[in-house]
């Protein structure tokens, strides 16, 4: 397994060190390019982070193998996201990619990844809307378990349940309510 694949495997598990290494390694090139193409620094950081998320989601599939180097992938996806953003802002057809040094006709090759990413984000935001409609303590309980990765033991303590088993029963009840809201809202 080469270094890049090893990094990706660690990234997939959400490993902080690997994430930091990848992030810092390619940050300057990508953000500099965005800034040269009309983006402010915070825009550049946002776009770059979005590209990192795209890579992270791809890496969740165990069979995933990158056909190019990580840097190339991040750069291409960032560029693509940036052009889309400009196009949205200007409501005009997207600018054609310029022929900067990194261009190697791969710029639009990750269209599928980005579309999949868009769909997933939409789906998550619908899920989140449903989650926000849940009353307390359900919303906080599910967030503690799924978003904050707390153990049932911790949750039982902080939410005042006598034991983890009771907290778990409550969690299932909350999931049941979430499911009703989510599916009644017509999301399949």
């Amino acid at each position: 397994m080469d270094t890049e694949q090893l990094l990706l495997t660690s990234l997939a598990m959400g490993d902080r060190v690997a994430t930091e290494q990848i992030y810092n390694q390619h940050y300057p090139v990508v953000t500099k390019w965005i800034q040269n193409n009309g983006g402010a620094e915070p825009d550049a950081a946002d776009i770059y982070q979005e590209a990192m998320v795209v890579l992270y989601e791809k890496s969740q599939d165990e069979s995933f193998r990158l056909s190019c180097r990580i840097g190339t992938y991040l750069f291409a996806v960032s560029k693509h996201l940036w052009y889309k953003k400009i196009a949205r802002q200007q409501k005009s057809p997207g600018l054609l990619p310029d022929s900067a040094e990194y261009d190697d006709n791969r710029d639009w090759a990750y269209e599928d990844d980005i579309n999949a990413h868009k769909e997933r984000e939409l789906y998550y935001s619908q899920l989140n809307t449903a989650l926000e409609q849940l009353g307390e303590p359900c919303r906080s309980l599910l967030k503690a378990f799924y978003h904050e990765d707390k153990s049932m033991q911790d949750i039982a303590t902080s939410f005042g349940y006598t034991n983890p088993e009771n907290a778990k029963t409550q969690k299932y009840k909350c999931l049941g309510r979430l499911r009703k809201i989510f599916y009644n809202a017509g999301v399949k």
Partner: protein, 356 residues
């Protein structure tokens, strides 16, 4: 017959991959023979997996933000303010004051409480009124700052800390119907907050800042909360945000009951301006005795404030899981007024309310 509890349990073990082959086979058989069960099971599994994946992604995004924040912090360039930016600030403050003065009579009176009809003015600052002339300046300032919410501020109010780790209190009418609420802390940074509890009648809302690592100041709160009503004539002062900078005011308790004899309130002789809703009222020993809620529309200088007792009642009614521990020690009582204010500035913040 499987209960819903059983189905979730089954789905969870299935998702974790901890279901033994035998049960797995039984499950497949049941799904094949009972289509209603199959639908239910699949929906459960889907919700669970989605929550799992969304949660993982949220954690990953947080890691990225963390890394970015750490990088920005270490590679901080020298802070130089370009000239035009410098003038924007001055101009904005000047315009703010000018507009505030000219529009100070247009106070918002919309409130669904009948008794508070025309005599009672709420003191949130309605920025919509002078949006056209001012918002451009304000926005220009905001673009220079990180983590600035996208929409335009509709109202501003004042809030103060209940605990150092991000619980704070303000008026219910400030956050009522808000799309989102941000607080601006002493160093100018914005932090998103959400409501954890409120009492509409007493006009109190308790908020929590989303960022878990947020702290108002270095240590625990320097002030404590007065458990019972203070005497008539007690000298009091307040700190609030009728403009972008913190403003000091002083006065005294002029009646132990508030508007229309409301015993949860005090009546104060103290000037108050829009934007000061939610400002703390503090006695000379550094105890919070009340929170400004409104003023008498017909007479200048009459201000109403909800007592700290009503505030504590609301805190106690919240679920234990919030874990709000009000400070009992008071570190202000031996300090001069100036020193007290200096400390309090860290725990008082401006509240920005966004509404469509």
């Amino acid at each position: 017959m499987l209960t819903e509890h059983n189905i979730w349990q089954l789905a969870e073990r299935y998702a974790d991959g901890t279901l033994p082959q035998q049960e797995l086979d039984a499950l497949e058989q049941k799904k094949a023979s009972d289509s209603a069960f199959a639908t239910e099971f699949n929906e459960c599994l889907n919700v669970m997996r989605s929550m799992n994946d969304a949660g993982k992604q949220a954690r990953f995004r947080n890691t990225l933000k963390d890394i970015q924040a750490a990088n920005t912090a270490t590679a901080k360039p020298l802070r130089t303010i370009p000239l035009h930016q410098h003038y924007w600030r001055t101009a904005a403050v000047a315009a703010g004051i000018a507009l505030l003065t000219s529009l100070s009579t247009l106070w918002v009176t919309q409130h669904n409480n009948n008794k508070m009809a025309s005599q009672y003015s709420l003191l949130k600052r309605d920025l919509e009124t002078y949006k056209r002339s001012q918002s451009r300046l304000i926005n220009n300032i905001q673009q220079q700052q990180q983590n600035t919410p996208a929409a335009e501020v509709r109202y501003t109010g004042t809030g103060f800390a209940l605990t150092n780790d991000g619980y704070l209190v303000t008026n219910y009418h400030v956050t009522e119907g808000a799309d989102s609420v941000y607080i601006q802390s002493r160093n100018g940074s914005y932090h998103k907050a959400y409501t954890v509890g409120y009492d509409q009648k007493a006009d109190i809302a308790i908020l929590k800042i989303e960022d878990k690592d947020f702290r108002f100041g270095k240590g625990e709160l320097p002030y404590s909360f007065a458990p019972n009503k203070r005497k008539l004539g007690t000298k009091v002062y307040s700190l609030g945000f009728p403009q972008d900078e913190i403003v000091y005011n002083e006065g005294y308790i002029s009646s132990k009951n508030g508007f229309d004899g409301d015993s949860s309130q005090y009546r104060l002789q103290m000037p108050a301006y829009p934007g000061q809703s939610g400002a703390p009222i503090i006695d000379p020993n550094g105890n919070v005795v009340a929170m400004i809620t409104g003023k008498d529309a017909s007479s200048e200088g009459t201000t109403y404030a909800v007592s700290s007792k009503a505030l504590m009642t609301l805190v106690q009614s919240l679920p234990k899981s919030n874990n709000i521990k009000l400070s009992k020690s008071n570190k202000l009582n031996n300090l001069t007024l100036e020193q007290q204010i200096e400390k309090l500035e860290y725990y008082t913040c401006s509240i920005k309310v966004y509404k469509k």
